[in-house]
Symmetry: C2
Subunit: 234 residues, 2 copies
């Protein structure tokens, strides 16, 4: 019975995948605003109304693409992290940064969908917050490993404002590592700097400013890694 039931559900899964595939192709070429349900249906030889059997709305289709995107960047980050010895914390961090940039440069529209302006009128459902944290888990693991190994260069313990303590305490519990305030703050700062740099490149702010994009990125990430506390010359 599961076989026969699977027969229907299998073609459904296949069609669903074909829709997201075509949608992703269209997203890559036209951008999020150019994603048209009718165009996808046309390419599939279906009536436009039939698409709604698989995705209740255009936003639902966008959500699927967003989840796929988060998983793609998360997987790229995980792979880059796993390729290096566990105690090479600085190397892992730099590799992870490069993985984010590489993915963003090769998938600019998908990157924009994830980290650019939120699509107006679109409210990210809860299904996305899981995959959205996949890459984050890698970052915190690297910092936590370095801190546990004692290789993280200490920062001047500049006092953190008292009203940030609640946020930092919650962060400590969610990441499950007892990192000092300054380490968390610096990690957050470098995290934002990483995506700020990538966004500037992908969104065109570096046009006519920086030509050697890869070299600049690597160099900046090195400077930021030292700032985060990863000692140079790993």
């Amino acid at each position: 019975m599961s076989a026969s039931r699977t027969a229907r559900e299998r073609v459904r899964a296949e069609l669903t995948e074909e829709i997201t595939g075509l949608a992703r192709r269209q997203l890559a070429t036209e951008g999020a605003a150019g994603l048209s349900l009718r165009a996808v249906a046309r390419e599939m030889g279906m009536a436009s109304s039939a698409i709604y059997r698989y995705f209740a709305s255009r936003d639902d289709l966008l959500t699927a693409l967003i989840i796929d995107g988060y998983n793609a960047v998360g997987e790229a980050v995980e792979r880059a992290d796993a390729a290096l010895p566990r105690d090479d914390h600085r190397g892992r961090w730099l590799a992870v940064c490069r993985a984010v940039r590489d993915w963003a440069v090769t998938h600019p529209h998908e990157y924009a969908l994830l980290y650019g302006s939120p699509v107006p009128g679109y409210q990210a459902p809860e299904d996305t917050i899981g995959p959205a944290l996949r890459d984050t888990a890698v970052y915190v693991r690297i910092v936590a490993d370095a801190h546990a190994a004692g290789t993280l260069r200490p920062h001047e313990p500049g006092p953190v404002p008292a009203n940030l303590e609640a946020d930092l305490a919650r962060a400590r519990t969610t990441i499950g590592a007892d990192l000092p305030d300054e380490v968390i703050v610096r990690a957050l700062t470098v995290w934002a700097a990483l995506f700020g740099t990538v966004s500037f490149e992908v969104f065109g702010q570096f046009d006519n400013v920086i030509g050697e994009r890869a070299a600049y990125f690597d160099h900046t990430m090195g400077v930021l890694a030292s700032f985060a506390g990863f000692p140079a010359e790993g």
Copy 2:
């Protein structure tokens, strides 16, 4: 004749301004994708086709809004910078950062239009690059002032990759200040970090992560200012 001619051009200028005003209001509430020429025309009591006498296309209207936005953030930054004594470099820098964030938080959709995902199919014309550099000039001036005054804490002169020299040389000529490589690189890094932090807040990446947004921002900018070389305790 110039009076009568002006009569015509004056009402034209007034109508143009009314269009951009309504468009900006619509942009603020609905976002860039929700900006509808027909809706603007409806609110003005005009036929939709009449709008095209004033803006050749929707993209043209968007361009006008983008230029206005760059000028708005540029003006906010200039005002924040001018409010402090010229030799308080760190204070000026922090004030400028706060001005950017304040403007972004109060005008999230306009910020998204400027610094978020580029509108698909929209190619920014050359008219925008002038206003787009208005805030940048302020950042550069602050760093240059601090460097000239000798108050910029020196960084370890970590060697900059050779293939970045061309970019740095061009940057030196465009800003018209002979700053060392490391200073330029750190300034660029902090620049990207500033907008990365603001984008993370405006675009929702800090949701469920940071509650005390203003306190976190100020603290991070302080850390980054020290990183850039502005000595603490100004």
